[in-house]
């Protein structure tokens, strides 16, 4: 039971018009791990994420999360399934007409019947857990910096204590210090809440710092999965260029000096 993958993708095909993004993609995510999804621009990392959470109907293929199919499921089952994961979109995707506290409360309000007091207290805790100051609670999304918006989006994603969190490029557009802090936060919350993290990223530092495994998307499928060290030995030009380029060497060197 424990060895079953928490997310399993088999033979996924996604097409936009005549352009095939995924062509028979297979991927397994194990419970409790942080898996980093990398790939060049246009290889369908975000499309994969959208397909797994059911925002996008794939042309072919089977996606199961918690052993249940995401695609062939009743509306009620999907709702129940959806409660067990949280998604943080690029730039947070906070509801612009609600303040941070209302944003974090939104999933609780929709899914559960909680008293106002409990909901407010839990939202305040979640906001503190992602490292935002208390005064951020009453701020509107437009008043926050990019890094704070991402954190608030993370707080909303974990509002219902999900088992899986999907993060779409959480460190893109952050300065290195902010990005490192976000990585630390992800690792910390993974430990504290027992999360499985599905991390779509370009950030080599994130991959080094927190990912247990890495899956490389290219040519419409998962080219390789494995740890950072194993990626060094994959014989594919893109993988070689990505993991042995100057930026990768810098990230490795940085990790070794730490």
């Amino acid at each position: 039971m424990a060895d079953d993958p928490i997310i399993s993708v088999r033979g996924l095909v996604n097409r936009f018009g005549t352009h095939t993004v995924h062509d028979g993609l297979d991927l397994d995510v194990r419970r409790g791990e942080i898996i980093g999804i990398v790939g060049g621009s246009g290889t369908g990392k975000s499309v994969l994420l959208r397909a797994v959470v059911g925002l996008l109907k794939p042309a072919e293929g089977q996606i199961t999360v918690f052993g249940e199919s995401v695609r062939d499921t009743s509306a009620a089952d999907y709702r129940r399934l959806r409660r067990r994961w949280g998604v943080m979109f690029q730039d947070g995707a906070l509801f612009s007409s609600l303040n941070v506290q209302q944003n974090v409360e939104a999933p609780m309000r929709e899914q559960l019947d909680l008293s106002d007091e409990t909901r407010e207290a839990l939202a305040a805790i979640k906001v503190r857990m992602v490292g935002l100051p208390d005064h951020a609670l009453q701020k509107m999304p437009s008043e926050l910096s990019g890094g704070m918006r991402k954190r608030a989006g993370f707080a909303r994603a974990i509002a219902l204590d999900p088992e899986i969190v999907f993060l779409d490029e959480p460190t893109a557009g952050l300065d290195p210090i902010g990005a490192a802090a976000f990585d630390t936060l992800t690792a910390q919350l993974r430990r504290a809440l027992g999360l499985t993290v599905f991390l779509v990223t370009h950030d080599l530092d994130s991959l080094h710092a927190i990912c247990d495994r890495i899956a490389v998307l290219a040519e419409g499928r998962v080219l390789a999965t494995g740890t950072m060290a194993e990626m060094q030995d994959v014989d594919h030009p893109w993988v070689q260029a990505y993991f042995k380029g100057p930026r990768a060497r810098a990230a490795i060197a940085q990790k070794e000096t730490l």
């Binding site: 612009s96 409990t118 805790i125 503190r128 857990m129 999304p141 437009s142 204590d161 809440l193």
Partner: protein
């Protein structure tokens, strides 16, 4: 029931709390959906026993830490026993992040708060009015500068906007004016027939349409149609930082975006007003003929002999002013859009409401002015 695998998420056990021999015993699943069933506000004990707890999430940990805090406040240092390593971690995280003061500040609104709000809103409205006047000044200065240096005028943009706000509005404006003429003739006829003064319906229609209704209703339609489009277009450019990009390239957004729109509107609104006047008179004439038997020939001769050309002039003089109001308000509100999509929608509706209101207010001023001047 308690033997159920704690990892199986499909079934939840109701949580229970019991107090015996100075020990709080918690059992079942302490989850976000279930913890409110627990009554943790009563009794004191030295120990909190979590060994019977199955699933445990942030909300569960919150409830336990809250219980712990309550006991601490009562002067007891409670011990938590039977927690797994994971549960310990979660409790530690919660202790670290939970505010000391658990009560979320209740926002109560007193009379002085309301007064303060009123004051702030009044001051904000005055400030906005002032900055709108400032904006008007900048636009007029820019247009003045363009007249002095006609080489800088963006003719392509002006013609494009003239088509958008003028030509494309002709069908709706003429249909509206035609129907207004019909309504006036119909209503006027019913009243005037009582005095046997049917023929005065021509004066009624001509004066009301030429002086007031033709241009006023055209301005209202254009405010709804083009004022909102100006706000939305400039606002979305502002949101995507296009305006800032323009400034860094040395382009003046007022000259590039606002001036062509305002100029196009000032040129086209009088034209639309004339079209509306004709359509309104046509509608009135047709209805007078059908309803009152006033033939088109009679209508025309009475129109020419009894209606001074100043009625037409009074209506048309107002058109450029209305155009300026609509253009300035539409562009100004567009420039006020901030970073979020919500402000774009809010300001677009503000733009329409405000420009219609200002157009009607200006029309009232003109009425008073012309009455005093005796025109």
């Amino acid at each position: 029931m308690n033997k159920r695998d704690p990892g199986a998420m499909t079934q939840t056990n109701r949580p229970q709390i019991s107090l015996s021999d100075g020990v709080f015993v918690l059992q079942g699943d302490l989850l976000i959906g279930t913890i409110e069933d627990l009554n943790m506000s009563q009794g004191v004990a030295q120990t909190i026993d979590l060994s019977g707890v199955g699933q445990f999430d942030t909300a569960g940990a919150w409830a336990v830490v809250r219980l712990e805090r309550r006991l601490q406040a009562a002067g007891i240092t409670p011990q938590i026993v039977g927690a797994s390593a994971l549960q310990q971690d979660l409790l530690a995280t919660l202790r670290q992040h939970m505010p000391e003061d658990d009560t979320v500040a209740v926002v109560s609104v007193s009379l002085s708060d309301r007064l303060e709000q009123l004051g702030r809103k009044t001051a904000a409205a005055l400030r906005e009015m002032l900055s709108m006047v400032g904006f008007l000044g900048r636009v007029v200065a820019t247009i003045g500068g363009l007249i002095l240096r006609p080489g800088r005028i963006r003719w392509t943009a002006i013609v494009h906007h003239m088509q958008q706000v003028g030509l494309n509005a002709v069908p709706i404006v003429s249909l509206m004016a035609f129907l207004i003429g019909v309504v006036l003739a119909f209503q006027g006829a019913a009243q005037l027939r009582q005095f046997g003064a049917e023929v005065f319906v021509v004066d009624l229609i001509a004066i009301s349409i030429l002086r007031e209704l033709g241009i006023l209703l055209t301005a209202i339609i254009v405010a709804g149609r083009s004022g909102s489009a100006f706000t939305a277009a400039i606002g979305s450019m502002k949101m995507r930082e296009e305006i800032d990009a323009m400034r860094t390239l040395g382009l003046d957004p007022i000259e590039v975006l606002v001036a062509p729109r305002v100029i196009a509107l000032i040129l086209m609104l009088p034209v639309l007003g004339i079209i509306a006047n004709f359509a309104g008179l046509l509608g009135g004439a047709i209805m007078s003929w059908i309803e009152l038997g006033v033939s088109p020939g009679v209508f025309q001769s009475r129109l020419v002999s009894n209606t001074g050309v100043w009625h037409f002039g009074v209506g048309l003089i107002k058109a450029p002013f209305f155009a300026l109001i609509i253009g300035i308000v539409g562009c100004f509100e567009g420039m006020q859009v901030g970073g979020d999509a919500e402000s774009l929608g809010r300001l677009t509706s503000t733009s329409v409401v405000l420009s219609i209101f200002l157009v009607i207010a200006a029309d009232a001023m003109f009425s008073i002015f012309f009455a005093i001047m005796g025109v």
